[in-house]
C-alpha cells in the first residue's frame, strides 16, 4: 500500500493544475467534482493507508518519487515519509480538508472565481500534505512555502478590496520572516550533518551534540523562528487576525485547522534537536504561554466573529506550544487534532452565519440566531464547549487538561506556565461564550437570508461529532486511562517524563480546570446575556476603555511593527527612489560637461589668444626642460 503514498499530495496538486488550466472553461459542477474529489480521494487513500498502518505498525513508510537534485553530496529527494506523527496530520488535513471543500461548494457557490478558489484550495492541501509528509527538510520547506503562497492567494481572494491584498501580503511577508530564520537553520543543519534528511539528522544529532550544545540551541531557535512565524505565535502573530479577510472556509482550513499548526508539526518533527536544546524548549513554552494570554485577552475585545476565532486560534496554538515546550509532544499533537476539529467547526459555523447574514461579521449586529439556524447553533455549541474545555463531555476538555496537567506533572513543568494556562483557559471560556451569547441569543438584529443546505450542515455535523467524541481516545489516568493516541505516537515522539508521585493530585487539577471553565461560562452568561448593563458600566470607565482599545488592537503589536519596521523601510525606499548612487554618476557627467564648457571658453576664435596659447605652452616646456 505504501506505493500509493505519493498519490496523497499528488492528487490535490493534479486537481489544482487541472483547475488552473481548464477552470474557467468547464462547468461549475465539474469544478466542484475535481476540487472536492481530488481531496476526497486523498482522504480515502489516507484512510486505507491509515488502517494498514495501524494493523501492521511499521516504524515508518518511505517512498522516494525521484531524486530532487544532487550537488556535491547535498542530495534531497522528492520523497515521502509516513509515520504516526505525519499520519495524524495527514488525517486531519485530508479529512477536515475534504469536509471544508464540501462546505465550500455551497459557501462559494455565488462567487465568479469559483474555479480559482478550488484551485488554490487544492494547491493548499497538496502543499500542506507535502509539508507533513516530507522526508527531508528541504521538501518540507517546499510545502512550507507552498502553503504560505496559498494562504496569500486565499486571504487576498477577493482582490478588488485593497485591504484584503494588504492582509494577504502581510501574512506572506511576516511568515517569510520566520521562514528566513528557518532557512538559516537549514543551512546550519546542512553544515553540521551534510544532509537535510530528517531521520538522519535525528539519529546523528544525538550522537553529535550534547544537551545544550550551542549549535543545537541556535538551530533550535532558528527553527522555532520558522514555527513561530507560521503558527502565529508571538512575536510574529500579527498577520493571523488580518488573515480573516479571506473567505471563511479558508480561515477554517488554513488559518485554524492546518497551516497554522505547521509550526507545531515542525517542532514535534524536529523534537530531537529541541530536546538537545533546553533553552529553546523553554522558549517554546514561554512563547506559548505568553501568546495564549495575549491572544486570549485580545479575543475578549473583538466584535468581528472571525477575529475572535482568529485570536482564539493563536491562543490555542499557544497551548500546543506550551505542551511542546515541556516535552509533552503527544499532548501537543493531540490538542492540535482536537483543535483542528472544533476550530474548523467553529469557523464553518461562523461562515454559515456570515452567509446567512449577508456577509455581516460584526457580532453586535447578530443575535437570536439559535432559532433561525438550529443546526448551526447546536454544532457551534459543541465547538464552543470544546474550545472552552467544558468538563467531561467535550473533547477540548481532555486535550487541554492534559496539557495543563503536564505543566505541573512534567519534568520540565513550571507552576507559572501552569497558571498562565489556567488563566488562559478561564479567558477562553469567557470569550467563547461571549461569542455564543452575542450571536445566538438576544434579539435578532439582522435578517437571516441564506439557509444552509446539506453541503454546509453535513460537514458541520461530522465535525461536531468529532469535536465531541474525539477526546475519548485519550483519557486521563484517573479517568478511564485511555491512551490510544499517545500510544500511537510513542514510537515517534517520546512520552513525557512525569514527576513521580504526582498522580494523586491529578483529580484536583482537573477539578480546578473544570471550575475555571464553568466560571468563565457563567461570567459570559452574566455579562452578555443576563446583565448587559454591566458591560456598559465597564464601557464608561476610561481606564477600562483604554485597555479595551489596547487589547482590541492586538496589544498594539501592529502599531509597534509599523513604527519599527514598516515605516522606516518604506521611508528608506521612497526617499531613495531615485537611487542616490545614480546621483554620483550624474555628478560625474555634470563635472565632465562643466569641464567641457570651461575648455570651450579657451577656444575664443581670436588669433592673438591662440598665439598666446602657443607662447604659454612654450614657456611651460622651457620651464620644464630648463628647471627639471
Amino acid at each position: 500500500m505504501g506505493e500509493l503514498l505519493w498519490l496523497i499530495p499528488a492528487l490535490p496538486f493534479a486537481g489544482a493544475l487541472l483547475l488552473v488550466i481548464f477552470g474557467n472553461r468547464i462547468a461549475r459542477g465539474l469544478v466542484s467534482t475535481i476540487g472536492v474529489g481530488s481531496v476526497g480521494i486523498s482522504a480515502a487513500i489516507t484512510l486505507v493507508l491509515g488502517i494498514e498502518y495501524l494493523s501492521s505498525r511499521p516504524a515508518f513508510i518511505r517512498q522516494e518519487v525521484w531524486q530532487w537534485f544532487d550537488v556535491a553530496g547535498f542530495s534531497p529527494s522528492i520523497a515521502f515519509h509516513l509515520d504516526a506523527l505525519s499520519m495524524v496530520f495527514i488525517f486531519v488535513i485530508t479529512f477536515v480538508g475534504f469536509l471544508i471543500h464540501i462546505y465550500s461548494t455551497e459557501y462559494m457557490a455565488e462567487d465568479k472565481d469559483y474555479a480559482r478558489f478550488f484551485a488554490c484550495m487544492n494547491l493548499f492541501v497538496g502543499s500542506m500534505l507535502m509539508l507533513v509528509m516530507a522526508d527531508n527538510l528541504l521538501l518540507l520547506y517546499l510545502g512550507w512555502e507552498g502553503v504560505g503562497l496559498c494562504s496569500y492567494l486565499l486571504i487576498g481572494f477577493w482582490y478588488k478590496e485593497p485591504a484584503n491584498g494588504y492582509a494577504a501580503r502581510k501574512a506572506f511577508i511576516i511568515t517569510r520572516v520566520g521562514d528566513t530564520a528557518m532557512a538559516i537553520g537549514l543551512f546550519m543543519l546542512f553544515q553540521q550533518f551534510g544532509t537535510l534528511h530528517i531521520q538522519s539528522i535525528s539519529t546523528e544529532a544525538v550522537q553529535t551534540w550534547t544537551i545544550g550544545s550551542e549549535t543545537a540551541v541556535i538551530i533550535a531557535f532558528l527553527l522555532l523562528g520558522g514555527a513561530v512565524g507560521k503558527s502565529g505565535q508571538l512575536p510574529l502573530q500579527t498577520w493571523l487576525p488580518d488573515a480573516m479577510a479571506g473567505p471563511t472556509p479558508v480561515s477554517a482550513l488554513i488559518h485554524a485547522a492546518t497551516m497554522v499548526t505547521a509550526g507545531v508539526y515542525l517542532i514535534a518533527r524536529m523534537h530531537v534537536v529541541f530536546e538537545l536544546a533546553p533553552a529553546a524548549m523553554t522558549a517554546v513554552a514561554v512563547i506559548g504561554a505568553v501568546t495564549l494570554l495575549v491572544a486570549g485577552f485580545a479575543a475578549l475585545t473583538q466584535y468581528d466573529i472571525k477575529r475572535v476565532l482568529a485570536y482564539s486560534t493563536i491562543s490555542q496554538v499557544g497551548y500546543m506550544f506550551l505542551a511542546l515546550g515541556v516535552g509533552a509532544w503527544s499532548a501537543g499533537v493531540f490538542h492540535f487534532m482536537i483543535h483542528g476539529f472544533f476550530k474548523a467547526l467553529l469557523f464553518l459555523c461562523a461562515g454559515a452565519i456570515i452567509l446567512a447574514l449577508h456577509h455581516e461579521q460584526d457580532m453586535r449586529n447578530m443575535g437570536g440566531l439559535s432559532k433561525k439556524l438550529p443546526i448551526v447553533f447546536y454544532t457551534f455549541l459543541i465547538g464552543a464547549a470544546s474550545l472552552a474545555a467544558f468538563p467531561l463531555v467535550s473533547a477540548g476538555f481532555y486535550s487541554k487538561d492534559q496539557i495543563l496537567w503536564l505543566q505541573l506533572a512534567g519534568e520540565n513543568g513550571n507552576i507559572w506556565l501552569y497558571l498562565a494556562g489556567l488563566l488562559g483557559a478561564f479567558i477562553t471560556s469567557i470569550y467563547t461564550f461571549r461569542m455564543v451569547f452575542l450571536t445566538f441569543y438576544g434579539k435578532e438584529k439582522t435578517h437571516v437570508g441564506h439557509k444552509p443546505t446539506w453541503a454546509i450542515t453535513v460537514p458541520l455535523i461530522i465535525l461536531g461529532i468529532l469535536s465531541f467524541a474525539g477526546g475519548f481516545i485519550e483519557l486521563p489516568h484517573n479517568f478511564g486511562h485511555v491512551v490510544l493516541f499517545s500510544d500511537f505516537l510513542t514510537p515517534i515522539l517520546p512520552a513525557v517524563s512525569v514527576v513521580p508521585d504526582f498522580n494523586q493530585y491529578e483529580w484536583m487539577l482537573q477539578l480546578l480546570a473544570a471550575v475555571v471553565s464553568l466560571v468563565g461560562i457563567f461570567i459570559a452568561y452574566l455579562f452578555y446575556y443576563k446583565k448587559p448593563e454591566l458591560i456598559e458600566s465597564i464601557h464608561r470607565s476610561e481606564l477600562a476603555m483604554a485597555i479595551h482599545r489596547f487589547w482590541h488592537s492586538g496589544w498594539g503589536f501592529d502599531q509597534l511593527y509599523d513604527v519599527l519596521f514598516v515605516r522606516p523601510y518604506v521611508y528608506l525606499s521612497k526617499v531613495n527612489k531615485n537611487d542616490f548612487i545614480d546621483g554620483f554618476y550624474t555628478f560625474l557627467a555634470n563635472v565632465t560637461q562643466g569641464l567641457h564648457r570651461l575648455f570651450s571658453t579657451t577656444q575664443t576664435g581670436v588669433m592673438r589668444n591662440y598665439v598666446m596659447g602657443v607662447v604659454v605652452g612654450a614657456i611651460m616646456i622651457l620651464t620644464i626642460s630648463l628647471l627639471l
Binding site: Q603, T604, G605, V606, M607, R608, V611
Partner: protein, 102 residues
C-alpha cells in the same frame, strides 16, 4: 682677430626673437603680425648664421637662405590672404576674424 663669442650672437638673436614674439602678441593688425613673424624668422636665421660661424661651417648661412626663401613665399601667400580678408571684413583687425570658435 678677436671673435665675438657665440653666446653674444645667440643672445642678440634671442632678443630679436623675443621682440618679434612680443609684437605678435600685442599687435592686432594682421599685417603687423605678419611682419613680426618675419622678424622672428629672421632672428632664427641670425641664430643659424651665428652658430654656423661658430663651427666655421657654411651650413648656417645656407639655412638662412632657405629661411629667407620660405619667408618670402609665406609673405606672398599671406598678403594675398590678407587682401582677401580685408575685402571681406573691411578691416585688418585680427580680432575681427573670429567667426569660428567654441
Amino acid at each position: 682677430m678677436t671673435t665675438i663669442p657665440m653666446e653674444y650672437g645667440l643672445l642678440l638673436a634671442g632678443m630679436l626673437f623675443m621682440l618679434g614674439l612680443i609684437s605678435v602678441l600685442i599687435r592686432r593688425n594682421i599685417i603687423f603680425m605678419l611682419i613680426s613673424v618675419e622678424i622672428m624668422l629672421n632672428a632664427a636665421g641670425l641664430a643659424f648664421i651665428v652658430a654656423g660661424s661658430h663651427w666655421a661651417q657654411p651650413d648656417g648661412q645656407i639655412m638662412f637662405i632657405f629661411i629667407l626663401t620660405m619667408a618670402a613665399a609665406e609673405v606672398s601667400v599671406g598678403l594675398a590672404l590678407i587682401l582677401q580678408i580685408y575685402h571681406q571684413l573691411k578691416t585688418l583687425n585680427s580680432d575681427a576674424a573670429n567667426f569660428m570658435k567654441g
